[in-house]
């Protein structure tokens, strides 16, 4: 491979570091109306009356919209393929407000000050209702988060609003209860992980205007331009053909922007006033008015033989989806579906999960997407099993985990459209990941712990994880290639680069297939008018799904070039050779450079534009795998846990760009460390979000993470583009369970509720001390 598996720098890198004006707010028209949103101060209330008359008179105010001004249409904001697996439970503005921060009124003014002034004097008379704040008490709670008649689910997902249930999922293989009865050892535990905020540096923002054809143009910081187009069409009641969505450079997403959030408000204002409009979410609005990782709790029951063979896994999960059910089904489903297949040798396993409505900020997509939470639960339970059996946790994995070439019926059950034939994990490199990880962290020297001083002790712990690569038979990607005069190609893709570098790696794949150098590929992406359909940047799909679509388009292009080369040389296609640079008639030895050829067929002969479109939808479930190893130091006097070192070894198949792949691992590990030790979305007893700034919500700083060492397993997945799988999300998953096991190995204290903040660890240490004295 000449271009793939090479560490090119990102093609947009230079422009970004020079501070070029390429983000949404840099591009917005200077005269755009500024849109602000009045948000609910109550967790659950009904608007009895809302009076905007005085506010509308403030100079500079163009319009103020309340639920009375907007056609009532239920929809879902979730960025998913249609028909969505999320309930249609959201209205642009509603009579009910269902969480602190829920939208109440939209204000548009010529400048921010006027909008804020107006906002302060909008009179709202609320009937305050009792909020549902504990997701474990939501079922049967006297308050219904969704009392309205017209919310519904497009697809049967177990939606039952009378019980505050957004969805329910099930998975069952074999006879769990029988297998548990036959087990020598049972581990029965409950684990929970907290809501986590994506905290990308660029908040949600969008601007809109009407172009000269009367179409609504939406420029937005999004991961899902095509879904946004459809969602806006549904919510605004205008045809998709009247909407164009463009994603410029964006400052990260991590799943936050896989839900449509900001786009509705400027769109409505533009439609109403005819003027350009812009909204830029403040950081506080992001915390309160968008979404965060679903908090989840799992009851895990493991049954195993005394020599470490896991016979059965029973998993019951509950998820807090907050006020709206975006991504509720898919995350709680993934928590079981993309974790249980790791243990393919069990006789039986069973998973029940459900997502509950509460009057809190809605759950959404965040890197890992339910698999993170499920992995924390299962891997923690298996680490506890290892302790119970006095076995090394890597040994327990070795006995039970899926290995190269193996399969499990679970893969059939969780892969749409695959049917009954076995699905072999031909490219699974978990064994290597574990052995390499052990070597890198010096596991044998350090396991289980090393006493540093009277008050400080270090421990090591590990966990494994998988994710998926795209969504088989659900999400597809398309790309178009066109040959330009002078022999360079335009690569038009719907695929969304969040800063991850997808523009670059997809160009690498195109260049490799076409046989040209990388600089011959000009990329344009994420414009619903100009680029073909792509589901968007989620489900770790871009490399695998869009990558294969690129290969499809490029292979078609090579054929097309040869076909027209044959015409050019007046011969048959079998006589044509194309090596990326020249088209050659092997019979006569005549040749023409691609550059000359492209001019020739455009200006002089044939008069044809060569352009191909490739599409791809995954068929096979193709998980990336990872083994994560943590070394922590615990201060026994304060409970403070510091990560000394974290080693991550990832099997992503062929890394299209090893440099960028490694940065993905380093970044994902840091997010995992945040989940394990520092970050927590917190509410007060009235449902008000307390962590709505970066002073209260602590994203790890560069002094908080210790040494991070990453390595790529050299795998190859034959269904992947040049052997690639995915990497974006798996890299978060094993971190928290590895850290909590390291804490246990260091101190004997088991944290089953994230995050492992110092006070929590301290209290457990104290309890342990007291117990040992009794």
């Amino acid at each position: 491979m000449k271009i793939v598996n090479k560490s090119y720098s990102k093609i947009d890198g230079k422009g970004l570091v020079e501070g070029k004006p390429v983000y949404t707010d840099d591009l917005a028209p200077k005269d755009a109306l500024i849109v602000k949103i009045l948000r609910s101060p109550h967790a659950f209330a009904r608007i009895k009356d809302i009076n905007t008359k005085v506010a509308e008179k403030i100079p500079g105010v163009e319009c103020i919209l309340t639920y009375k001004d907007i056609k009532r249409i239920p929809f879902t904001r979730a960025g998913q393929c249609y028909p969505e697996l999320s309930p249609y439970d959201k209205f642009i503005l509603d009579e009910y407000v269902r969480h602190v921060g829920d939208e109440v009124a939209i204000i548009a003014a010529t400048d921010e000050k006027a909008a804020m002034k107006a906002m302060k004097i909008i009179k709202v008379d609320y009937e305050i209702l009792e909020p549902v704040l504990d997701y474990e008490e939501a079922d049967g709670h006297p308050s219904l988060v969704h009392p309205e008649e017209d919310s519904f689910a497009m697809v049967d997902i177990g939606f039952d609003k009378s019980r505050n249930i957004a969805c329910q999922v099930e998975l069952e293989l074999g006879e769990v209860d029988k297998a548990l009865k036959e087990s020598d050892v049972i581990i029965k535990r409950t684990y929970s992980s907290q809501a986590q905020a994506q905290a990308m540096m660029e908040t949600q923002r969008a601007y809109t205007y009407i172009d000269m054809y009367g179409r609504l143009i939406v420029v937005t910081s999004t991961q899902i331009p095509f879904h946004v187009r459809r969602i806006l069409s549904t919510a605004l009641g205008i045809p998709e053909s009247k909407i164009r969505v463009i994603k410029p450079r964006i400052g990260g997403g991590f799943g936050a922007k896989q839900t449509a959030n900001a786009e509705f408000y400027p769109a409505l204002v533009t439609l109403k006033t005819g003027k350009p409009a812009k909204i830029v979410y403040t950081r506080k609005e992001v915390f309160r008015g968008t979404n965060s990782r679903h908090a989840m709790k799992f009851d895990i029951t493991l049954g195993a033989t005394k020599d470490g063979k896991i016979k059965a896994i029973d998993m019951v999960g509950i998820s807090d989806t907050g006020a709206y059910g975006e991504h509720s089904q898919t995350t709680i489903a993934a928590a079981g579906q993309k974790v249980l297949p790791l243990y393919n040798k069990v006789e039986a396993c069973r998973y029940h999960g459900k997502a509950m409505y509460t009057n809190k900020v809605p759950g959404g997509a965040l890197r890992g997407f339910g698999v993170t939470q499920g992995t924390f639960a299962i891997e923690s339970a298996i680490n506890e099993l290892a302790i119970e059996l006095n076995m090394d946790p890597t040994e327990i994995r070795d006995i039970n985990m899926i290995k190269q070439g193996e399969t499990t019926k679970l893969l059939n059950m969780t892969t749409k459209g695959w049917g009954d034939r076995p699905m072999y994990m031909d490219s699974c490199m978990l064994e290597y990941c574990i052995s390499k990880g052990k070597e890198l962290i010096k596991w044998d020297e350090k396991y289980p712990k090393v006493q540093i001083s009277q008050t400080k002790v270090r421990g090591v712990g590990m966990a494994i994880a998988q994710q998926g690569s795209g969504l088989p038979k659900i999400d597809m990607a398309s790309v178009t290639l066109k040959l330009n005069t002078d022999g360079f190609f335009s690569l038009l893709m719907g695929a969304t680069d969040l800063g991850t570098g997808s523009d670059t790696i997809l160009a690498q794949i195109a260049a490799e297939t076409l046989g040209v150098s990388l600089d011959k590929i000009v990329v344009y992406s994420s414009d619903t008018d100009l680029t073909p359909f792509d589901a968007g940047a989620y489900a770790s799909s871009t490399t695998y799904t869009t990558g294969n679509a690129v290969i499809d388009a490029a292979e078609k292009m090579v054929d097309l070039i040869k076909h027209h080369g044959a015409i050019h040389f007046n011969t048959t296609i079998d006589n044509i050779q194309f090596d990326g640079n020249t088209i050659k008639n092997i019979e006569t030895e005549e040749y023409i450079t691609l550059s000359d050829f492209s001019k020739r067929i455009t200006y002089n002969h044939q008069f044809i534009q060569l352009s191909t479109t490739g599409s791809f939808v995954p068929e096979k479930n193709v998980p990336p795998y990872m083994a994560g190893f943590a070394e922590v130091e615990v201060d026994l006097e304060t409970g403070k846990v510091d990560v000394v070192e974290f080693v991550g070894v990832v099997d992503c198949g062929t890394p299209i760009n090893p440099k960028l792949s490694k940065v993905q691992i380093e970044g994902g590990i840091t997010t995992g460390i945040g989940l394990a030790l520092y970050e927590e979305v917190k509410y007060d007893e009235n449902g008000r979000l307390m962590t709505d700034t970066f002073m209260e919500y602590k994203v790890p700083t560069r002094k908080d993470i210790g040494k991070v060492v990453v390595e790529l397993a050299e795998g190859y997945e034959k269904t992947g583009p040049y052997g690639a799988k995915s990497i974006g999300e798996v890299v978060v998953n094993p971190v928290a369970p590895a850290i909590t096991d390291a804490i246990y190995n260091a101190t004997g204290v088991r944290i089953r509720e994230l995050p492992a903040i110092p006070e929590k660890v301290y209290m457990e240490l104290l309890k342990k001390k007291i117990k040992s004295k009794c």
Partner: protein, 155 residues
């Protein structure tokens, strides 16, 4: 109110509101390289120099900055380009949103402390958050940059 300040060496006049922050004044006047990432002065995306010191333009009122010298990345193009090259080479510019603020702080750190240790680098830059890269690669890039500068200067 009308104020004057020097921005990137040029004398500038701005018509501002007394409660307007420097980041907004700069962005509204074409210095879009300065980014806003939070509202509590924690993320560092808005970092610029005032009289040569790294500060947060989202915390400093424009009225306070009046009469001072402000430097944004547009004003230190050549130096910033050099740092930027090292970040791009390591693949740690990622979404790029934290990059300009980070580069401004790196340039400040470079003037302030000779041959910083890893710990010192992390300490100086701890006010620049990044959610994409996990920081590790950025440290690699910065060390390579500082090493290259050291070699340049010793020639």
């Amino acid at each position: 109110m009308k104020i004057e300040m020097k921005v990137n060496g040029q004398n500038k006049q701005f018509d501002i509101s007394p409660d307007e922050y420097l980041v907004d004044t700069l962005r509204n006047n074409g210095y879009t390289s300065v980014k806003k990432g939070c509202d509590t002065g924690v993320c560092g995306c808005c970092t610029v120099h005032m009289d040569g010191k790294a500060i947060l333009s989202c915390v400093i009122l424009s009225a306070k900055a009046a009469g001072h010298e402000i430097t944004t990345i547009e004003g230190v193009k050549e130096e910033a380009k050099k740092v930027g090259e090292y970040l791009v080479e390591e693949g740690v510019e990622q979404c790029g949103y934290c990059s300009t603020g980070l580069i401004m702080n790196i340039l400040y750190m470079e003037k302030h402390i000779k041959e910083p240790s890893d710990e010192e680098i992390l300490h100086y830059l701890s006010g620049n958050l990044c959610r994409c890269t996990g920081y590790t690669g950025q440290l690699r890039a910065i060390k390579k940059y500082l090493e290259a500068r050291k070699n340049e200067n010793s020639k």
